[in-house]
Symmetry: C2
Amino acid sequence: MGESPSTALHTDRYELTMLDAALRDGTAERRCVFELFGRRLSGGRRFGVVAGTGRLLGLIRDFRFGHEELRWLRDEKVVDAATLDYLEEYRFTGSITGYREGELYFPGSPILTVEGTFAEAVVLETLALSVLNHDSAVATAAARMSVAAGDRPLAEMGSRRAGEASAIAAARAAYIAGFAATSNLEAGRRWGIPTMGTAAHAWTLLHDTEEKAFRSQVEALGTGTTLLVDTYDTRAGVETAIRVAGTGLGGVRIDSGDLPIVAGEVRAQLDELGATQTRITVTSDLDEYAIAALAASPVDSYGVGTSVVTGSGTPTAGMVYKLVARQDDAGGWVGVAKASAEKGSKGGRKAAFRTLDRGTATSELIVVSDGFEAVDTAASHPDARALQVLLVTDGEPDAAFEGPAGVQAAREHHAYAREELPVRALALSKSDPAIPTVYREADERSAGQ
Amino acid sequence: MGESPSTALHTDRYELTMLDAALRDGTAERRCVFELFGRRLSGGRRFGVVAGTGRLLGLIRDFRFGHEELRWLRDEKVVDAATLDYLEEYRFTGSITGYREGELYFPGSPILTVEGTFAEAVVLETLALSVLNHDSAVATAAARMSVAAGDRPLAEMGSRRAGEASAIAAARAAYIAGFAATSNLEAGRRWGIPTMGTAAHAWTLLHDTEEKAFRSQVEALGTGTTLLVDTYDTRAGVETAIRVAGTGLGGVRIDSGDLPIVAGEVRAQLDELGATQTRITVTSDLDEYAIAALAASPVDSYGVGTSVVTGSGTPTAGMVYKLVARQDDAGGWVGVAKASAEKGSKGGRKAAFRTLDRGTATSELIVVSDGFEAVDTAASHPDARALQVLLVTDGEPDAAFEGPAGVQAAREHHAYAREELPVRALALSKSDPAIPTVYREADERSAGQ
């Protein structure tokens, strides 16, 4: 288990009590297919961005029940002795296919397909959903901000507005979806994300004068640093900044006021002072709409906090983890689904493709198989891109998707996938998904094409 | 440092670069007072609930820079060698006073007051805000749900809709604010919160028939268990449930449909079948408004997921951490504040009281001291409740506020403090804070009373 803390109790109680009952009645060993998907795109988003997959793979490695976890489960009588024995040996040995991290998703997209016994697959539900729901919500909001910002770089600075562990995951998700850097040092260390920072108002207030604060910062960090100019009076702050650092000052940060107006005034003042290369970064309560509204203003970069780490109004992606197929006693496969108008799911295993017309996405094609046999994804849709890859084989995660290298790959894949979107997908207003989800039965597809 | 992972890099980069510059210019050792507070109650809340304090104390214990953290900071050239030496020895040695966990707060309430050198106090900003902003947002939403639910118990079941670590913190915050239990096992183990659970739709779908699934669950968990009855057809599900478990069945869970109608139908059916003691729990996308709308329906308990862990529309409390006083070179104290219409703060150290009229809160009285001398909280407001306690003394957290015992104390304190609220505070609609925040200068207060 190495030094990583166990993630095995990041789990809803009913997962273990269902396991307990299934071990008694013999269904625990039934082969099952669970699917993780979103029924809709929350918040009227036109597309979703998958994030968290690489994190989840590492957390599944650490999903082992150690002595402390087992003792607590025994003391609390959560499960019986036979179940404790099972959990002591627990290790996921099944397979997981799914969308690459950074990929786009739409309603019904089979983002993860988890195959294994009921026992080993059911207990991953809470952890898988926690990771994917949080990280995808942040990545989806971040992608919208990235679209709004165009070529101007975005920095994620919202750690203080998210739980301390989620903050690191949020920095990672935002980077995958197009942000250039984060203020969070642990995200830099753990995931290889570039880190950045300027200074706080406390820095200026600590010193007897703004000039002393600026002078000290420039001496420590060089003239390439970014000075925060709005602690007292922005016009005086800019004048002091250039007087102290010279016209080679790297940047100034504005954190208050009516940003389109203030940015214009500061740009004019900097140019008058000869600091034509000094960059302006703005950071006050920005979201994708505020960023879009600054498109015509002389702003060079954006720092985004609260809105990106909280998913800009949609803090969770609302994905679910549902049993879609299982074996019966005879060993045959049965597609299963809850019957409900608004909360139903579609039984059967799915293969997913993004159909394209001259490089532009036209639909999310989901081929449903009643049985368990793998749908041949390669042959029959040469005009479409197959969306699923093998993430875990016989319990072993593919290391290529993990760690900093996995993050870089996800960021690149996201940029690639976003290029396929039709232009209408890039508008910020609430709408239906940018492309329709089309279901097809496996037989029909085989027969028809 | 024990086995806890370091929390020292859960920190924005600029905290360390400000430290770096302050060590060079000599201001690092200036004594400072930082204050953590909310400028307003986000989301039109009528009161806020402080949560996270006990967690933060443990995280401050683990705020040490180990070899890995230091090596990364050196390799990335975040700070210079002198700063690395400082960080290697870093331990917070100052003091923290603040509101008890579970206490109510209002705009400007000095929730934490951190006193120490600039160096040791500034680097705690990100961590302190991450914890308090997240946990207080959840607790505030949970308290509103608890008000709406009245005497009916609430269970927190939202782990899957929050980052995997934030989920544990959310379960803890919800419990402090009045929830009775959580589905999250790690929250049970770590914080001593009662855990609960029923079964998922996958449980029914795993079995060949609903009856087999119910029979197995009752055999494993006893007739006191709660059966999920809406997988196929709720009326048939209820009939099967009572046939299998008998009229002594503990409960049924309904997770879909128009809940006021369905709950009434299920209650009537249960009563007809003689299962008059079988409880009904409902769990479908509930928030405080949906809970209030079910007040007249025959529901016995509520399971709440997404809305509570995401703060029911307000996922972060929006608190800030501001330098409010510092020493000058002569050793005198200076109150400091940023000048800004909408983002300004009030300089000076604060003492906070809740004034009461026959047991009902009438104002949040904040006595401001320009200097550093402690305001005498005990003497002059016998009709008010002093709100601040000493949380950390000379770097040592008060263990009474930590661990499961701290959670219980916070839950009890919350119930106590909520009893003081005027009735208008308990309405769910958006409004101004239920009581006004009143500032008074320390001198004026001493003189006037």
